[in-house]
Symmetry: C2
């Protein structure tokens, strides 16, 4: 007798896998990466600890997938925002604003995905995630340069620096902790976006205009 997975079973398995990943994501959003331990995640996903290992070979794999997952969403949001912009400069501004809004909206999650200490080795996955996001930003910078809106420069270094500025100022340990207030949060996003754009050579006055344009239509409390 050959046992064959019925469609229903396949769906259930997929659902369970998603549930585990979702539980990990929620746990990370609430308590940071340190809280993402097998036992609590399993409880949250309504499975036993051992079951997690039927879906993910190890904790490192689970977290790596979590990172990839979150990055995928982030990247999609960046592309959507940038593609909707009228020109290369606004596209760059939109991309940067999107990142800024995302990280302030889910600070613990972002911190966990980006930089928070983890016991297991997820450097590979984090690196890939950063490369994806940085690559997208780099492409937008390059486009703005080609359009003559920015001075020629090392786009890879510029993209890395730009993202580093956003992250450190908005989600790092130095980030202001009173960002509960919507107005202040908005201010912070605008200020940092402005800084980031100036860094790559957008003229100050022009940058202000772009940032205001880009921030206004963005939903500040955009869901995951």
């Amino acid at each position: 007798m050959v046992y064959r997975r019925t469609h229903q079973v396949v769906k259930r398995l997929a659902a369970r896998r998603s549930a585990i990943l979702a539980a990990a994501r929620e746990t990370c959003a609430e308590g940071g990466m340190a809280a993402v331990q097998i036992a609590p995640v399993a409880v949250r996903a309504n499975v036993a600890a051992g079951t997690v290992y039927r879906y993910f070979p190890s904790k490192a794999d689970l977290i790596s997938e979590l990172i990839a997952d979150v990055s995928r969403d982030e990247l999609a949001a960046i592309r959507r925002a940038a593609d909707a912009a009228p020109g290369p400069s606004s596209a760059l501004a939109a991309a940067v604003t999107t990142v800024a809004v995302h990280v302030v909206s889910h600070r613990k999650l972002s911190w966990g995905i980006l930089a928070e200490p983890v016991e297991v080795d997820v450097t590979e996955s984090r690196l890939a995630s950063r490369r994806e996001i940085a690559g997208e930003v780099e492409a937008r910078i390059a486009a703005a340069i080609r359009a003559g809106h920015l001075p020629a420069q090392d786009t890879a270094l510029a993209a890395a620096a730009l993202l580093g500025a956003l992250h450190e100022a908005l989600v790092g340990p130095m980030a202001p902790d009173n960002l509960e207030d919507q107005a202040k949060l908005r201010d912070a996003v605008q200020t940092v976006t402005l800084l980031a754009l100036r860094a790559v050579g957008v003229m100050d006055a022009r940058a202000r205009g772009l940032v205001v344009q880009a921030v206004l239509p963005t939903k500040m409390a955009a869901g995951a």
Copy 2:
């Protein structure tokens, strides 16, 4: 009979303490923070594991002191460089350049001090360290603003963003890994310093001049 510590003994104890800290520092510089474990550090300092605990209550304390120690040196170097500059703008450029040169010269150590995962909790100490450095940079930014060389802005956020840009571009996982080459390393430092200064509003042409001035006199391979 009262045992009293003789001067010689006091000196030996202090020397041993320093030796342990130095061993920790070297270990971190070579293998990152992950390599800073009690046993290896003890071996390197020529003491037994237990002895470490006569000088530091716990590993967390040891690492915290290490972080404070490195930060102290860094801060001193920044102040020295900035104070030697002729005006507020050059002082800021000198400060930024100093940070850039330091981090690229000791990348593993910097990464370990700044952000590398550690098992024990050293967030307090890292936060303090960042606040010190950021505070100094912030003061220099504020001075340049007062002198009318920079537009008014949130100096705290600007300092955080500026340092974030340097760190991410030069020591983070995205940093180019071919920085062995002195020339490329120098280029990277210049490029990123330029970006950082532009971010806070230094005009592009002026920034180039300041950076060249600041980079030239700096010893690229400055010792710890």
